[in-house]
Symmetry: C2
Subunit: 199 residues, 2 copies
């Protein structure tokens, strides 16, 4: 509907995840009216990201060199690996400051519906990392949904012969939430995982 | 939270309208995993758009040259101008194939709250276009909201001395909609604007 390059821009923006045709149009017109230097900066950072950003050879997290910041940090606890689905999960856990070990980013979760099996994830790389026996605890922090649970169960069974301590993040009520608004599965899990109060 | 350029990309994406921090992160990781040629194509079209796209000297619509496709089309009816707020409104009206005249894009609507007055819109340019007397009908197609109505009223008063036929798009029930779901203002307008059925 638009003239040449404007329509090209709307089409390209519409390919991004979560951007429908209306949003793509709105963003395109915002960019048309925006300062040229701002738009060029966005274009430049897009190119730079593809030039510079690699995935860490060790854990699969995003990295600007061969290894990510966490894997190349010698102060991290080498005895613990926390397995997550995506690089953004690493950031979420880092924000808690609860974990000082290293990560392993699978690049997704097992999903038969989407045709994603263990071979499509960085499972082999994980097994290689566990082979030298330095790691003693594997924390399975895949998402608390169907695919994440299936992936955690699969990995737990796979590493069982290695005799590691394998843990899973607790499910339960979100802190600061309202009990009455929790869904029944979450509430059920909160009951199941109830802890003894030591007062 | 992310390493250098990844965070830069998230920040840049987060500046786009309707893209919150979570969406910016999701899009950034999509781009990280995407094919390099696709991302470079997006970057290239961003630069191209800023290089090529101008606003039509006559009507203010987007254009790749001095004039937009519509203003340079000699088959259009020169006696009618349809006033809209944004270039996307031109596209919406063109899709209806109801209008064969030309447009005038104001670049927004009068909004005292946002500090937008007539001088911030392309009102002076509209008056210049009307000066030669070729135009006989001015269709005010600003949005049917507070700002759009105020803008239409302002323009109608402004051009009154010129003796033009000044019209406003009909308000009423959306076609294919359900009467019971219409808000009361729309339903009120539909009553107000009821037409005699000629059967």
């Amino acid at each position: 509907m638009y003239e040449g390059v404007v329509q090209d821009l709307i089409d390209e923006l519409g390919r991004l995840p979560g951007i429908g045709p209306k949003s793509a149009q709105r963003i395109a017109f915002h960019l048309l009216a925006a300062d040229s230097t701002d738009v060029r900066r966005l274009a430049a950072v897009l190119v730079e990201v593809k030039d510079k950003v690699r995935f860490c050879r060790t854990c699969g997290n995003v990295a600007e060199g061969e290894q990510c910041r966490i894997c190349s940090d010698t102060r991290r606890d080498l005895s613990k690996i926390c397995v997550v689905e995506e690089p953004k999960d690493v950031v979420a856990i880092e924000k808690t400051r609860e974990f000082r070990g290293r990560y392993h980013v699978l690049g997704g979760a097992i999903s038969p519906i989407e045709g994603i099996g263990p071979d499509d994830l960085r499972v082999r790389e994980l097994m290689t990392r566990l082979a030298d026996g330095e790691v003693t605890e594997l924390i399975l922090a895949t998402d608390p949904n169907l695919e994440g649970e299936a992936t955690a169960t699969y990995l737990a069974r796979l590493v069982k012969p290695m005799g590691l301590r394998v843990t899973r993040l607790a499910s339960g009520l979100p802190v600061g939430g309202d009990l009455e608004y929790a869904d029944e599965v979450t509430l059920g899990r909160a009951f199941e995982g109830r802890r003894l109060l030591d007062v």
